[in-house]
Subunit: 297 residues, 2 copies
């Protein structure tokens, strides 16, 4: 059995061919330019393999609702060349195998659940803090998807009393993403996060907001593992502030070592590093194959 | 097949014997006094029936973690006579059939999912606003239970700028439960909620906090139906404020009719009314039977 995995990102597409166990036997990265060029290179990479199914974890906004007429398409993405591109359909038209389509963060959550930090657990939450803030949850071993896919980046947080930055979310102004995304950090402090590495106050404030979000996620979802990825989380200083604020907020209300003495083992970086997405895409491929089989396709 | 269902509440125990389809063929209410007396009456009610399994939805705090040494016990409940009472064990010792044990709000969520407002849906959220604020979620047709059971009543909310009430949560001071539970309403306004029926400002402020909670729950869990029960929700005036504040908060970010024009059909009262808990307890009984069968007990 052979699977194709595509992590379709705003700056690059990571593609892999995986065997039955989702070990990558071939892998490449393709820069995200214009759709015609990038997709031609993606297709060329997979040619010559007898794939059984393909999985895609896509940047967005993308339509991941199977019953929607625009399912599998990029929708209102700020990368205008990619707007309304039927990504899933293009891949399906070429290879004629089942194709799974999900948000990039959902794919990463699946990857970490199957092979990474949450391996063997029944649930996990994967949060990415970068250009945007998004999260995917695996619950009862399946991706959480109800009315819509979760939109956890836009939850409300309490503003820090000394933070005068107005927030930059076009819908909610000072929601979590509005106050704590990578672009919000740059806007507030006048420089990109990577250039603010040593500025304790930057990461303390960032930790203040991320900890509030974790408080809400943990009280509402109670995941068995919390994985924090994305560019912003590569800043070392942030981790200690997140854990410290979170302990203060929870105030020992839930009596679990994961939320006190063993928090370092509960709130963790992705174990698969930057491969979480493409590994998850291989899992998506397998799920798409099984679903198609279940339908008798 | 016959099931026993017990909704163990702080003021009364509702008991029912249900047939294979969980239709109640006998039902009673027993006041919650001291454990010996109440449990003797509960046991007498079920005697004479050949029950296949029993389900309990319990007031709390109660230990609902199957692997815990105190599983099935009431723990730090403010009703001191009931502290450390091994409720599940007592029932099991007498009837020697599989017993399912859950929080009262989880039982109500199951009841509404199986027979009430969320019948036929894959997910729902049941929130109770009363002496405390609690919630149970059904996801992929199972109760959400990860590291712990959810503790959604204690999420953070943004304080209304004109609200000077400090909040009464012993752990988090002004979390949702601290600001918006029934006792918080009484504390803030000097009278019980039922006596404040006509005071628009009371229910407007209450709606302000409940709407924030719904915003967080919906963005994080994306349930297919939101059911609001409990004493406080019996105040008619509150509903319009909840829906109005929630629309403002979401600001059309998620493009679903359930979150705009059809919100009245998405955020609803329990369809089973006060029977949600005991109906859910009958479902718990059936689940306990199936699990025991799966284990070969």
């Amino acid at each position: 059995m052979l699977f194709g995995g595509i992590e379709a990102g705003g700056t690059k597409f990571v593609c892999a061919v995986g065997d039955e166990k989702k070990n990558a036997i071939k892998r490449t990265q393709i820069p995200t330019t214009i759709p015609e060029e990038t997709l031609a290179r993606v297709i060329r990479f997979f040619e010559g393999f007898e794939l059984d199914a393909i999985g895609i974890g896509s940047f967005g906004p993308a339509d991941v609702h199977p019953k929607s007429p625009t399912y599998g398409m990029l929708t209102t993405t700020p990368k205008t060349a990619w707007r309304n591109v039927p990504l899933m359909q293009r891949i399906h038209d070429r290879f004629r195998v089942p194709v799974g389509f999900q948000t990039d963060v959902n794919a990463a959550a699946l990857g970490e659940a199957a092979f990474g930090a949450a391996q063997g657990l029944d649930s996990c939450l994967y949060i990415t803090v970068g250009t945007g803030i998004g999260a995917g949850a695996v619950i009862h071993e399946k991706l959480l998807h109800g009315l819509s896919h979760p939109e956890m980046g836009h939850i409300l947080v309490r503003r820090h009393p000394n933070d005068e930055y107005p927030g930059r979310c076009p819908y909610h102004q000072d929601c979590l993403e509005g106050l704590a995304s990578g672009p919000a950090i740059e806007d507030r402090w006048g420089e990109k996060g990577v250039l603010l590495k040593e500025r304790e106050e930057v990461w303390k404030l960032e930790g203040y907001y991320i900890a509030q979000a974790l408080m809400q996620y943990i009280l509402i979802l109670s995941p068995q593992k919390v994985i924090l990825g994305g560019g912003v989380m590569k800043q070392e200083l942030i981790w200690v502030h997140i854990r410290q604020y979170l302990k203060e907020l929870l105030n020992d209300y839930i009596d679990f070592p994961q939320l006190s003495s063993r928090m370092d083992d509960y709130i963790v970086p992705p174990q698969l590093g930057d491969d979480a997405g493409v590994k998850g895409a291989l899992v998506l491929a397998d799920q798409a194959r099984q679903e198609a089989k279940g339908r008798g396709d």
